[in-house]
Amino acid sequence: MVRSLIGTRIRERRRAKKLSQTMLAEKAGISTSYMNLIEHNHRAIAGRTLLSIAESLEVDPKELTEGADHLVLTQLQEAANLISEKNVELNRLEEFVGRYPGWSKLCAKLYENIQQQEQRLQALSDRLGHDPFFSEAMHLMLSNVTVLHSTSDILATTDEIPPAQAKKFIQNMKTESERLSDTITKLLSYFDETTSTETQSPMLAPSKLDQFWEMHDYHLFELEKPELNPKAQIKKMMAAWNFQETGEQRLAEALVERYANVADQLPLDDFVIAAVDYLYNPILLAQKFNCELHDVFFRFAHLPSEYDGQILPQFGLIECDGSGGVLFRKPLKTLSLPHKSSACPLWPLYRAISQPMQPVRAIMETPTGESFLTVSQAVWSGLNNYTVPPTVKSAMVFTSDYQRFLPTHERRALPTIKVGMSCEICPRTNCSARRSDSILDS
C-alpha cells in the first residue's frame, strides 16, 4: 500500500537538497527517464537501486520505505476514522505523508496528544468511580442527607410529635449536619492534595508501556498465530511503538516475547476450551498444559474480551518481587493497581511471598464492596547459584467475574479478606496491618 509513496518521498527529499532529477540520477547511477518514472511512482524500487538513491540523498533507506512513515500513516488514518470528517481525502493520505513529512508528523503528534488527554480524562473518570475515599465520602454524605431529608420532612409534616421524640430528631439533624460538613471539608482537602501532588502521578499519566497494553486491550492477536511469524511481528510492534527509554524498550520486548512464548505453549483455542471445562482453575490448567502457574496467570490476563461469540471473564494481574516492587500490572476497571509498591499489605499477593510455591486462593473485598477471586503464588528465582541468594517473584491473578464460573459451595469455602488500596485512603480504621493514618479518620 505504501510502496507507491517511495517515489514521492524521493522527489521531496531531492528538492529539499536542491538537486535536479538529472543530478540525482547520475549520482545513483541510473538514467534520468528511469528516475522520472520512479519519482512519479510508476516504478517500484528496492534493493541496490533503493540503496544507491538513499545514499545519494544521504538518508536512511528506511526513510524512503514504508517503515519510516508507517506509524504516522496509521495515526492519521485513525484520526480520520475517529473524527469521521467526510472531506478528508483519505485516498491521498500517502501522498500527503510523502510530500509533507513535517506537517504530517505534526498532525500525528497532535492526534497522539489528544489520545493521551482522553486517556487521562478516562483515568480521572475511572478514579472518581472507584476511588475508595471518594466512594466512602459519597456514601457518608448520602446517609447524612437521607437523615436530614427524612427527619426534617417528619418534623415539618407531622402535627403531633412527642416533645422528647422531636428533641431527639432535632439532635439527630444537628449531628448529621456536623458530619456532613466534616465530610465535605475532608473531601475538598483530599481533592486539593491530589490536585497538587498527584496530577503527574504515574496512576494518571500512564507510561508508554501502559499505553501499549491498553491500546491492545492486553491482547496481541498478532502473536496468537505461529504462521504469522511472531518474531517478525514483535520487531514490527517495537518499531511502530518506538519506545524512547532503553529500559522501557527492553522491558517491552521482554514482556512481548514472554507473551509469544506463553501463546505458543498455551494456544488460545485449546486454552479457552480447557479454561471453560476446568472452570478457570489455574492449577488444573497448569497441569494440563504442563506449564508454570504463573504462565496460566499471564494467559488469563491476556485473554481477549470475546472469543468465538462468547464473552470471557476479565482477569487482572499483578506481579512483584520479594520487596513488593511491582514488575507487571494489569489493572481492571474495578481495581486500580499501584505502579511501584505501597499497596495494601493484606493482599494475598504478599501473603504468597511467605510461603513460596504454595498457591493461595481467597476472595478479596475492597472498601467499596467490590469482591474479587484471587489466586496467588510466589516462586523462587535464581536458584542453583552458590554466590547470589535466590529471590522470590510473586503473582496474583484476580477477577470480579468469578460468579460466572465458581460454584457457590467453593466460593463459600474460601476465606474473604477485607483489604484496601493503601492506608492513606482506606476507611478500615481498625486494621491490624495499618502503617499510616487514614485521611478518612475523624
Binding site: 459519597m138 456514601h139 448520602l142 446517609s143 442527607v145 437521607t146 437523615v147 436530614l148 431529608h149 427524612s150 427527619t151 420532612d153 417528619i154 409534616t157 407531622t158 421524640q165 431527639k168 430528631f169 439527630n172 449531628t175 448529621e176 464492596g369
Partner: protein, 121 residues
Amino acid sequence: MTKKVLLIEDEPHIVEALSFLLRRESWQVEIHNDGIGAVNKVSELTPDLVILDVMLPNIGGMEILHDIRQNQQTAQTPVLMLTAKGQQKDRKAAEDAGASLFMTKPFSNQEIVASIRELVS
C-alpha cells in the same frame, strides 16, 4: 392485622426516622443493625416485609438477599433494598438477586411509605 416490617440497617438515625414513619402507619417494626445474623432474624420473625440496606457491617446486603432467596422459609418474603449506590448496574444486580424493589438514598418519605404499603398489601 398489624403488618410486621424488619428493618436491617446500621445507620441509627436512618433507623430512627424510618421506624417513626413505619410505626406512624401502625406497622410493627423490628430492627437488626448488622449483616451477621440478619438471615436468621428473617427466618425467626417471618416479617411481611424486609427493608435491607446494601452496605452493612460484616456481610453485605446483596449476600443476605441471596441467602434469603435460597432459604425455602424466607424465599417469598418481599425485600426492599436500600442503597446509596444508584447506578444501573447496582439496580440490575439487586433485581437479579431477587429484590422486590430497589430504592436509593436519599429517599422521599411519601414514596417509601407508599412503596411499603404496596409491598405488604
